[in-house]
């Protein structure tokens, strides 16, 4: 059986791009012919990614075509999908609710709205819907999918087998570093991180808040966050912007605790990265976060910033507690290693045959 994949574009370093490449590797290992097709062909992926125009050569009703969906397809892609006879499966990575972008980025707001409208059309075009998490599958079920399955994000440790950036280590190693990794976006509630950090400074005056992730397209939100930090007289809030894998590894190595206040995550790859780098996690219980943690880390169900700060303070005082949390997180991480996900993928493909 041929199992191909489609996404409008593929790039290194983003969760979906990495997932597509990891899936291709697994599918080929399982003996399937598997190619990646894109609308906009990235120059640096030449030879490994093909254009959708070339799909006609391998298209067949016996094939499975995995459609990765995260923001919305162009009208050209929607028309193409209607003409393809292959068995199509929507792989849903979730769309951030558009209301979060109100006043921040109208383009994202419209794209998120349009993406959700397309979901209804895609329900009729696809045989099954797979989500990164049960949380994602629930939304598909609400939109009419009946054949559902969870295909988690594959965590490939080889991707992080890099030498951590020396400059980052030199600058931030030592002291108390509270870390959050993710695109600067309102759904991730960076303001809640800053508020919790404000209270943490009373508990641990030496603490720093390291916020790693690009703010491209979210400039008004970034300005608000920087303004908030200034208003609360917090000089130790650091926005790094986009970082390389080496720099990312260094930030994790410097981190004392990973704090997430995010309200909407379809999966949460940085949670797995924290598990891998042995950073204890404290996270707000929302969307797919508790599912991804799967018993690892600590969950708070209320945004009581002073209490969250005290919780972090207590955790930092107790090395044994930190070690137990980290051990449990490492245990959980195994569920996302390629071997485990391969079994899941095999079952899902088998269910399509049935």
């Amino acid at each position: 059986m041929q199992v191909h994949q489609f996404h409008p574009t593929v790039s290194y370093g983003d969760a979906i791009g990495d997932q597509i490449q990891s899936l291709q590797h697994l599918l080929r290992r399982m003996g399937h012919r598997s190619e990646i097709f894109c609308e906009q062909l990235p120059i640096h992926f030449q030879g490994r990614v093909q254009q959708i125009a070339q799909y006609a050569r391998c298209s067949s009703p016996a094939n499975v075509l995995l459609l990765h969906f995260s923001l919305g397809y162009s009208p050209k892609v929607m028309a193409w999908l209607k003409s393809v006879p292959d068995r199509k499966v929507l792989v849903y990575h979730n769309i951030t609710p558009h209301a979060y972008f109100s006043g921040v980025n109208d383009v994202y707001l419209e794209a998120a709205q349009a993406g959700r409208e397309q979901l209804d059309q895609l329900a009729a075009l696809t045989q099954a819907g797979w989500g990164d998490s049960t949380f994602n599958c629930q939304e598909l079920a609400e939109r009419g999918w009946t054949r559902l399955g969870v295909l988690p994000i594959i965590f490939d440790p080889r991707r992080y087998a890099v030498r951590p950036d020396r400059q980052v280590l030199k600058r931030w190693q030592g002291g108390v570093n509270v870390l959050f990794v993710g695109r600067v976006s309102p759904n991730k509630r960076f303001e809640d991180l800053i508020l919790a950090f404000h209270y943490l400074k009373r508990v641990r005056p030496d603490a720093r808040l390291l916020l790693v992730g690009s703010a491209r397209g979210m400039e008004p939100y970034l300005e608000f966050l920087q303004g908030l930090a200034k208003r609360l007289r917090l000089s130790d809030v650091v926005f790094t912007g986009h970082v390389s894998t080496e720099q990312l590894a260094a930030y994790y190595r410097c981190a004392s605790v990973y704090l997430s206040m995010s309200e909407h995550e379809g999966f949460g790859v940085p949670l797995l990265e924290s598990m891998y780098f042995g950073v204890p996690i404290v996270a707000y219980k929302a969307s797919a976060v508790p599912e991804t943690l799967g018993g690892g880390g600590m969950l708070v169900t209320r945004k009581d910033y002073a209490s969250v700060a005290e919780l972090i303070g207590l955790l930092l005082e107790d090395r044994n507690w930190q070690a137990r949390i980290v051990a449990r997180q490492r245990e959980r991480l195994r569920d996302f290693l390629p071997q485990r996900v391969e079994e899941r993928l095999r079952d899902l493909l088998h269910s399509l045959e049935a």
Binding site: E39, S102, D106, A114, R202, G227, L228, M298
Partner: protein, 150 residues
């Protein structure tokens, strides 16, 4: 305040005891707060309203204005440069992408500015249209009250 807001899946951890310690520490530290210190949550909310808006700045559905929100955006976001010819195609595409990138560099800021203006104009029109409908309704009510056209 006594309800559990902390979840830890570790039987060796006494969640109740941790929460008790946290409550004690929070109470102790809140007494040390300076009286003139600004409430951080209130400061965040005020700054959000000042810099981002209260959500009403979002797009108003074109109920009274027959223009779709997405038509306000004139930036060609779905422009794709691809190729079909095997050897010359990729070279041709690279050249086109370089030219496209250069054009985007100076053209896109203007197009983004125009798109923002279009959205603001749509919002203003929708707002005026709603105000118009409200006034019309008021006139009709007054006409009914005076039993005839004013």
């Amino acid at each position: 305040m006594n309800e559990s807001w902390l979840e830890v899946s570790d039987e060796n951890v006494n969640v109740e005891e941790i929460m008790r310690q946290i409550r004690e520490r929070v109470a102790r530290r809140s007494g040390a707060t300076l009286p003139d210190e600004e409430n951080p949550e209130a400061a965040a909310e005020a700054l959000w309203k000042e810099m981002i808006g209260n959500g009403e700045g979002g797009l108003t559905p074109g109920q009274h204005v027959p223009i779709r929100q997405r038509d306000c955006d004139i930036v060609p976001r779905y422009y794709v440069i691809d190729w079909r010819i095997p050897i010359l195609g990729p070279i041709h595409a690279v050249v086109r992408r370089i030219i496209n990138a250069e054009i985007r560099r100076y053209l896109f800021p203007s197009l983004e500015k125009q798109s923002r203006f279009n959205r603001q104009a749509l919002r203003a029109m929708a707002s005026l249209s709603q105000e118009n409908a409200r006034l019309r309704q008021k006139i009709e009510e007054l006409e009914r009250a005076s039993s005839g056209p004013l």
